[in-house]
C-alpha cells in the first residue's frame, strides 16, 4: 500500500468512531459512502450507528456534505498544509502562535476541541479528496495528512485513505505498481521502468510536446486537459479506445469502440481501499473488450522488429554472469 497508514472500508464500517472528510464532497461525489461504509452503519462495536460516530468535514466552502457533519471546519483556500502542520504540532503539545492559527481561518478553541476529540477517539479515519490533493501543495498535502495519521498512533488508532474518483483509477495504480514498481508517471525508454512525475506525467509530456504518438484508453483528455495538451494530441497520431466516440476520438487518427466495463465487459475493479472486486456484466456488447483489443495490438506490434537494437537490451542479473 505504499507505506500509507490505512485500512479497509470494512474496518471503518465496523470500528471508526471518528471520521474526517478533508477536501471531499462525498454527499455528491460518492453518494453511498456515508450509508454503506462510514457514519450511518451500525456495527458490533458501534451499535448505535450514527450516534456513536463523530464526523468532521474540512473544506473551503460549505458543500452538501456539511449537512451530514457534526463539525464543519472552513479552512481558507490553499491553507490545508498549514492547518495539517499546526495539528501535527498541537497533538504533540508544541507551541503554535495565534498568528499561525489565524492564517488557516480557524480559531484556537476550535482546534483545541478537534485535537481533544482526535485523541479521545478509539479509531479515527481521515478520508481526503481532490480538494486536498489537487490544490496548492498537491501531493505534499496528502503526505502531510498521512504523516498526521501516522503520528496520531502515538495516542490512539488512526488511519487515512484517499477518496478515489471515478472508475477504476485505484486499479490503475495497483496494476502499475505490480507490473513496474511505480504507480504512475513511468517511462520504459531505457528498456526498464523509471519513475519521475513532472517529467513523465502526461500533462507535462503533452504541454512540452515530448511524445510523438498517444494511446488513450478509458479516459477523455480531449475534454479535461489544458488546451496546449489538447493541441499536441491533435498534432500527433492519437489512438483512442472507448465505448463512446469522445472528444478525444474526434481529434484522433484511430478510434476503436469497446464494451463498457462492468456493463458488457467482465473483469476486475479496485475499490478505493484497494480491495479488488469482480464485475458482473449483464449485457452482451457487439464490441470487443478493452483487454481483447489491447492484447491484439500487442500481438501485432510483437510481430514487428523490436525497437532496441539486438544486444543493447537491459539484461537480467542472472543473464550477465
Amino acid at each position: 500500500m505504499g507505506g500509507k497508514v490505512t485500512c479497509t472500508l470494512g474496518e471503518v464500517k465496523q470500528r471508526a468512531d471518528f471520521i474526517v472528510y478533508w477536501g471531499g464532497n462525498p454527499a455528491e461525489c460518492h453518494p453511498r459512502h456515508f450509508t454503506k461504509y462510514t457514519i450511518m452503519q451500525k456495527s458490533k462495536f458501534l451499535p448505535r450507528g450514527r450516534k456513536d460516530r463523530t464526523m468532521v468535514l474540512v473544506d473551503i466552502r460549505e458543500t452538501k456534505s456539511a449537512k451530514a457533519a457534526d463539525i464543519f471546519l472552513q479552512v481558507k483556500p490553499g491553507k490545508d498544509f498549514e492547518l495539517i502542520t499546526i495539528l501535527r504540532a498541537m497533538i504533540k503539545d508544541q507551541h503554535v502562535t495565534d498568528e499561525q492559527i489565524a492564517v488557516t481561518g480557524l480559531s484556537r478553541e476550535v482546534l483545541d476541541d478537534l485535537v481533544g476529540r482526535m485523541k479521545g477517539a478509539k479509531f479515527g479515519c481521515m478520508f481526503f479528496g481532490m480538494g486536498l490533493s489537487m490544490t496548492r501543495g498537491k501531493h505534499m498535502n496528502s503526505a502531510a495528512l498521512l504523516t498526521l495519521a501516522a503520528e496520531m498512533n502515538a495516542f490512539t488508532k488512526f488511519v487515512a485513505m484517499p477518496m478515489r474518483g471515478h472508475g477504476n483509477v485505484t486499479g490503475a495504480d495497483v496494476i502499475m505498481r505490480w507490473q513496474t514498481g511505480f504507480p504512475f508517471g513511468i517511462t520504459f525508454n531505457r528498456g526498464y521502468p523509471r519513475y519521475n512525475p513532472g517529467e513523465f506525467s502526461t500533462v507535462d509530456v503533452l504541454v512540452r510536446g515530448d511524445c510523438d504518438a498517444a494511446f488513450i484508453i478509458g479516459a477523455d483528455p480531449g475534454a479535461t486537459m489544458p488546451q496546449p495538451a489538447i493541441e499536441h494530441l491533435k498534432r500527433i497520431p492519437t489512438i483512442v479506445l472507448d465505448p463512446h466516440v469522445t472528444h478525444t476520438s474526434r481529434l484522433s487518427r484511430v478510434h476503436i469502440t469497446t464494451a463498457p466495463q462492468g456493463i458488457a465487459a467482465p473483469g476486475t475493479a479496485y475499490r478505493m481501499d484497494e480491495i479488488p472486486l469482480p464485475l458482473k456484466p449483464p449485457l452482451k456488447s457487439p464490441y470487443p473488450t478493452d483487454e481483447q483489443v489491447v492484447r491484439r495490438i500487442n500481438e501485432a506490434i510483437a510481430a514487428k522488429p523490436f525497437w532496441m537494437p539486438e544486444g543493447s537490451q537491459p539484461q537480467m542479473l542472472t543473464a550477465q554472469v
Binding site: H30, M176, P183, V254, K280, I297
Partner: protein
C-alpha cells in the same frame, strides 16, 4: 416482458465500487438498478448493448476492427516516444495489457492519478 435479474452486480462509476446492486435487464438495456445511487443508476441505464457507434474509425472514416488494430500497431510502432495514458474506465485485465504495451514500445505509461 420478463426481465432477467442479476444480484450483487458491481458499479464502477465512483471509487465506492458498490458490489450489492441488483440489475434488471432484457439483454439490450438495463431497466432498473436497485440499491444504486443516482450516479450509479445513470451509469447503468445509459449504456445499452445496441450498436450505436461504428466498430472503428481510422482518419475519420469507418473501418473494420482488424484495419484499426493494424493502423494502431503501425502508428505506435513507428513512434519514438509513444504515450500510453488513461486506464480509469477499464478493467485491471486491460490495464495489465496496457503496461505490457508501454513496455514493449519503450514508451511512457501514466494514469489519471498524475493530473
Amino acid at each position: 416482458m420478463s426481465l432477467q435479474v442479476i444480484d450483487n452486480a458491481t458499479c464502477t462509476f465512483c471509487g465506492c465500487v458498490c458490489d450489492d446492486i441488483q440489475l434488471h435487464h432484457d439483454e439490450v438495456r438495463i431497466h432498473e438498478a436497485k440499491r444504486a445511487c443516482v450516479l450509479g443508476t445513470a451509469w447503468f441505464l445509459n449504456h445499452t448493448a445496441e450498436k450505436k457507434h461504428p466498430d472503428a474509425l481510422v482518419d475519420g472514416r469507418e473501418a473494420s476492427l482488424d484495419e484499426a488494430i493494424e493502423a494502431a500497431a503501425a502508428l505506435l510502432h513507428a513512434a519514438d516516444m509513444p504515450l500510453v495514458y488513461g486506464m480509469s474506465n477499464t478493467t485491471c485485465e486491460a490495464q495489465k495489457q496496457c503496461a505490457a504495451l508501454a513496455d514493449q514500445l519503450g514508451g511512457l505509461l501514466d494514469s489519471h492519478t498524475s493530473l
